[in-house]
Symmetry: C2
Subunit: 376 residues, 2 copies
Amino acid sequence: MSKEMVIDSIQTNISCIDQVINKIIKGDSIDVLKSFEDNCIDVIFADPPYFMQSTDKVLQRADGTGEFRGCDDDWDKYKDYAEYDAFCMSWLRECKRILKKNGSIWVIGSFQNIYRIGYIMQNMGFWILNDIVWSKTNPTPNMSGTRFCNAHETLLWCSKYKNSKFTFNYKTMKTLNGGKQDKSVWTLGICQGSERLKDGNGNKLHSTQKPEDLLSKIILSSTKPNDIILDPFFGTGTTGAIAKKYGRRFVGIERDDNYIAGAEKRIKQQQEHLDMFSNLDFEVKPPRISMSSLISLNKLYIGQELLDKAGNVIGVLTDNGYVNDGEESLSIHKSSAKVLKLSNNNGWNFFYISRDGKLVSINDLRYETAKEKHND
Amino acid sequence: MSKEMVIDSIQTNISCIDQVINKIIKGDSIDVLKSFEDNCIDVIFADPPYFMQSTDKVLQRADGTGEFRGCDDDWDKYKDYAEYDAFCMSWLRECKRILKKNGSIWVIGSFQNIYRIGYIMQNMGFWILNDIVWSKTNPTPNMSGTRFCNAHETLLWCSKYKNSKFTFNYKTMKTLNGGKQDKSVWTLGICQGSERLKDGNGNKLHSTQKPEDLLSKIILSSTKPNDIILDPFFGTGTTGAIAKKYGRRFVGIERDDNYIAGAEKRIKQQQEHLDMFSNLDFEVKPPRISMSSLISLNKLYIGQELLDKAGNVIGVLTDNGYVNDGEESLSIHKSSAKVLKLSNNNGWNFFYISRDGKLVSINDLRYETAKEKHND
DNA sequence: CATTGATATGAATCCTACG
DNA sequence: ACGTAGGATTCATATCAAT
């Protein structure tokens, strides 16, 4: 494997993903994507050209007879949408092919292009998980006072298939959000100040550099440590920098030498910052130990009394790990829900046993048991 | 004209828009839209079915307090995207036809459908002015912790053509927003409490009733007094109620008798609330009077000295209403920009003349002149 | 009457590991 | 791949009862 961070797509065989880990591949996005093997990428972040139709050309009549008057079957007004659609279909098709079956993809856009992107992605079978609104704290104001200030951009987050088992670090995001579940509206500032890369003349190196906080949320919410994150429109490499920061791997595709140079320097300078969030410490799942296995392990015994936290006896343990309350045998979940008059409840947090005269939660019991098994 | 608010589309000739002003037309949206004449509607607000594609099984609340019922109505069911797209193309095509050439249309949706809608509308030649994010202060939480809480809906605001001279009450919205220009992200609560219409059993009459604050922003920002606002999916008539409140006219289309009955009662109870905002008092434009016409009217004379607000002489007036500063003749805007070393500036607010020993703003002069002309 | 607490509910593409 | 059983998951607001 080359020790250089930048690889020229023309000179290198990049069909095997291992050869381009943590590299910037210089070349045309679609061409390079086509060279990748199938099902090799965990998560994609794509920041494609937005197709801002700021020039008059697009919808002006070619003969100069005046303004477009809105005849619905006038083919030339669709021409540029069609070209943009074709471009997006090409790179999105390759993205879908190379994404792992449980992978997910993020695409950022604005009203000029995101409806093209969303429609195409749905038609391709991508499954929208969320559309995320990046609400800007400091948007460019509307100079002409002719409409509402365009103060947001939109991210589409989609899994490869409807039934993909995608990664979502729910508790990590909930913890980062102050204990409340995180929402589809993200309020973040635009990229400016020292974070904004400048060229030799002090001008911004890239016109649409994305803020690091945006990529941080994307990577911390939807990737695991060591995941491979592809960015087919790498630009100045925010994706690569934040992937490195949080212990993920990246692959970037970019054709502009100035952007590549800026990205390479930036990523090399980027410090790793591994912490409880990047390590997914908050995503620990309770040990999968059944009530009946606790009986087998002599942590519980058949006929033992099960109590609530106030010490009231609710029922006795049956041989299959259920609770018999005198009327019927139910799982710990159903039985606790019955007592609480709820439709469902987590029984692990409800029941206690008496041990050495003290109440012990069966939830503690399963964690304790899991720890002992782990130490074996 | 019938004195009844509700009209049955089957029994009535509704081709002339005057006959259905401030009426609810009972019938299928597309059929009724087809019966309308061309170019007769100022603004459309459309809240179509979203095609949510929720699973059949009921969603249990996380706290075990029972089931959650969102929108499981039959009217939201479609076979696939193709069927939904065809439905949207039909009603959107008619909406475009009946909209006036300077009209605009609002369509609300969520990620399940808004990318279908946006793509279709762009292809039809609608011109997106803004996509507005309704950020909900109190969204339904994600009960299962599998993705970000879906905390917003999206509104597409489009003009009929790219070059339509649509209505946008910029200063009204800026004033309502505390003196800052209003943005594309609107933070509003969902419709609940006394505003939410209930049926005889105390259950919500409509599963997706929109908040009045949302319609208020739409109507105050994009309509003029007496404008005709069409809502092809009228439901319980929020559009009609708010149109009446602010002195606009409405036309509603709805097929469900229960919704119609609720809407009719509600709109009859609605009080008018006309104020400076609904009356567009903040939208006054400066009088269109040129410098040379001020010369013709003997308000200014050729060779007259033009001063800044400190009384410094900047230049003298030329015969075409320009300012000669000794170097060159420039428009009042260019000339003032030159003094201020700006790329552009509003000269009306910069220059003064001396009259009876006092400085008089040329801006005051044009307002004074406009008033005199008006009194003729 | 004011405050506190219990209960109800909203456009939702809402589980997953194991056999 | 598919069925099944175990089991993990919620926030802001309105209303109404209780203190």
